[in-house]
């Protein structure tokens, strides 16, 4: 991780080692690229990769559905239940303000949860698989 994250912003671009990206220039792939594609296929089928994908999707899909539903519900409530939103709750705050501030809070909370999930569930495995895959591609 350390050598990945190290940033040397004064260095010119040319002095940095660079991973050559696999690119498809033409529509029909040359033989060495077909070999590369088989590597990707086999990695995609590997248990290690499935574990990473599971870790990612099992957090991100429900969380996205959750915050989108919560935001849309909040917006639709302003439009179609303004009376409810005007209920005074605490001091100068009515329900609308409280839910609005709740959107801020939930955004910050989900950001933190997502980062924690990524750090603990898949960062290390993803990095290992990256070097592994790149070795196979060579």
């Amino acid at each position: 991780m350390a050598q990945q994250e190290r940033v040397d912003w004064w260095a010119g671009a040319a002095s940095r080692p660079r991973v050559v990206a696999q690119r498809r220039a033409a529509e029909s792939a040359p033989p060495e690229e077909r070999a590369g594609r088989e590597v990707y296929r086999s990695v995609q089928d590997s248990e290690a990769f499935r574990e990473i994908r599971r870790g990612y999707r099992s957090f991100v899909f429900p969380a996205s559905a959750g915050f989108l539903a919560w935001y849309l519900l909040f917006v639709v409530a302003q439009a179609f239940a303004p009376g409810l939103m005007r209920q005074q709750v605490a001091g100068p705050l009515n329900l609308a303000w409280l839910l609005g501030l709740g959107q801020f809070a939930s955004t910050f909370l989900l950001t933190w949860l997502y980062a924690r999930n990524a750090r603990t569930k898949r960062d290390r495995a993803a990095l290992e698989l990256r070097w592994d895959t790149q070795d196979q591609l060579r």
């Binding site: 994250e5 260095a11 220039a25 917006v75």
Partner: protein, 534 residues
């Protein structure tokens, strides 16, 4: 409110902003002339730097002056408007930033081209990206014209015209000379100034009310002229069923559009890894979230201290609420501190405008040169464009796009800026986001599905606006005297976003060509692990 005598100082500070940004451009732009330098700033920015740059790209003058003005005038409904801009970042963080960083190189279309036939998808996504950035660019430049004129205390058409031309000229210089590296540094400096200025004013407002935010809310409601309604939903977006639906449409466009904005997506290529992209997004969410929280205090502060009536008298949209607040907090128009604070805040707003337009021009020129000129327009087997030629094309296209934006902005001066921004988000959400999400997550998605979903979102979004009250049939329409509108909403998102998703699905399931499974394997593995990433 009449013009204030502090404009000499403001002009001097504007000149300082221009001098500093040009120095950055020349200084930073000398290093590196490869495509990676021009489009991605060498990919060696740190997460903190890129987090500031993302906030700088995102928080336009429309946020700094527009949102605070809306809050000052409409209270709660202004706050409501700002929330969509923040929540949208969760889509960016979770579904887009890391995967796009790993799978692409410079543009959105790079991600699609990994698993699709590249010429049709690049043509579609490149065009949609250019449409989105151009709309956003026009919004910013029209806003710049009227804002700078306001801040300088003149109302003359010539001042606005010259401002638009000058802002356009500066942004062309930033982009052609400095590329992404200079643009990023300008964003960083601007975001820092913006946050520092907001913190300063927020502290002053809170101190004025002795730390009692409840008192601030009450005072703002009292001075709003509408009493308690100021703190309740419905003041701006609740007058009729149509206006409420319009707000739902806008909310949907805001929350889904951010993740499809080309100038935001291209920011993720300026950091070395997906993990750095994630961390920069987290910095951006922190900065943007805190900024909008401060915007609530500033907006309410302007409502309470300056008063909604004076805010509206200075500018009907409330765009000068924050500068007026600064003037008042510093001690009023006759005090040195008041004048100084007013000038400083005006200069920050000016820096904000310059930085955002530079980011947009760069994204637009990248979409043109990298996707359209160098790839979509080349037949396989014929001579391909070299990297050097592509960068030259990108610089030239930045000049042309900048010039086009200047001309279009001069014609579009009557258009409502907030509406144009909402429209750009709607197009991004309808054309770019469905394609991007399907490509990243749907195994069966085909080239035809990708092309359909871009055009299936882009065309309805634009057509619905043409037949909306924005163009004809209302008092505030672009065209007066004719009425051919049949679509009731100003923002097309509610209809065009589902259409974009639907078209992508339909194009795929009716396609006889099977999806490229090897391509999807490469995309998935690259996106989640970073193997083979640029």
């Amino acid at each position: 409110m009449t013009p204030h005598p502090s404009h000499g100082l403001a002009v001097a500070l504007f000149a300082v902003v221009v001098a500093v940004t040009l120095t950055i451009t020349v200084w930073v732009g000398r290093r590196g002339h490869a495509a990676e330098d021009f489009y991605a700033g060498g990919r060696d920015f740190s997460p903190l730097q890129n987090g500031f740059a993302l906030s700088g790209d995102y928080l336009s003058a429309a946020s700094f002056l527009g949102v605070t003005g809306l809050i000052a005038l409409y209270g709660y409904d202004g706050v409501l408007y700002s929330i969509g801009f923040l929540v949208a970042w969760l889509v960016v963080l979770m579904l887009v930033s890391e995967l796009v960083r790993n799978a692409g190189r410079y543009t959105l279309a790079d991600v699609l081209a990994l698993r699709m036939r590249q010429r049709p998808v690049r043509a579609a996504a490149g065009l949609a990206s250019m449409v989105v950035t151009l709309m956003y660019l026009i919004a910013q430049m029209v806003g710049a014209g009227s804002l700078v004129a306001l801040l300088l205390g003149t109302d003359s058409g010539a001042a606005k015209t010259w401002t638009i031309v000058a802002v356009g000229g500066l942004m062309i210089v930033y982009v052609t000379v400095g590329g992404m590296r200079a643009t990023t540094w300008i964003q960083i400096v601007k975001a820092f100034l913006l946050v520092a200025g907001s913190v300063l004013l927020t502290v002053l407002v809170v101190a004025r009310f002795h730390g009692d935010l409840g008192a601030l809310m009450h005072s703002a409601a009292q001075h709003s002229g509408v009493g308690d309604k100021y703190l309740q939903p419905g003041l701006k977006y609740g007058s009729s069923l149509t206006s409420r639906l319009d707000f739902v449409s806008l909310g949907l466009a805001l929350v889904l559009g951010t993740a499809g904005l080309p100038h935001i997506l291209s920011r993720f290529y300026t950091v070395p890894t997906a993990r750095a992209a994630r961390r920069s997004t987290m910095w951006a969410i922190g900065l943007i979230g805190c900024f909008y929280l401060m915007a609530i205090v500033l907006g309410l502060g302007a409502g309470a201290v300056v008063g909604a009536k004076s805010v509206k008298a200075a500018n009907p949209a409330g765009n000068t609420a924050v500068p007026l607040l600064a003037l008042d907090l510093g001690g009023g128009p006759d005090s040195t501190w008041g004048l100084l604070l007013f000038a400083v805040i005006s200069a920050i707003a000016f820096a904000t405008i310059l930085a955002v337009v530079a980011g947009l021009t760069l994204a637009s020129s990248a979409a043109f040169a990298h996707d359209l000129y160098a790839r979509a327009w080349r037949r396989p087997g014929k001579r391909q464009v070299s990297e050097r030629e592509e960068v030259i094309a990108a610089r030239i296209s930045a000049v042309v796009i900048g010039g086009l934006a200047i001309v279009l902005s001069l014609f579009a001066q009557k258009l409502n800026v907030a509406f144009l921004v909402g429209l750009a988000f709607a197009v991004a959400a309808s054309a770019n986001l469905p394609t991007l999400l399907y490509s990243l997550f749907w195994k069966r998605f085909t080239t035809r599905g990708a092309v359909w979903s871009v055009y299936g979102g882009l065309v309805p979004a634009v057509v619905l606006v043409l037949f909306s009250p924005v163009v004809s049939g209302a008092k505030t329409s672009m065209l007066t005297g004719v009425d051919f509108h049949w679509f009731p909403l100003e923002n097309p998102g509610l209809v065009s976003i589902p259409l974009g998703f639907l078209a992508g699905w339909l194009g795929t399931v009716t396609d006889r060509e099977r999806a490229d499974e090897d391509g999807f394997a490469e995309l998935e593995v690259r996106a989640l692990t970073g193997a083979g990433a640029a």
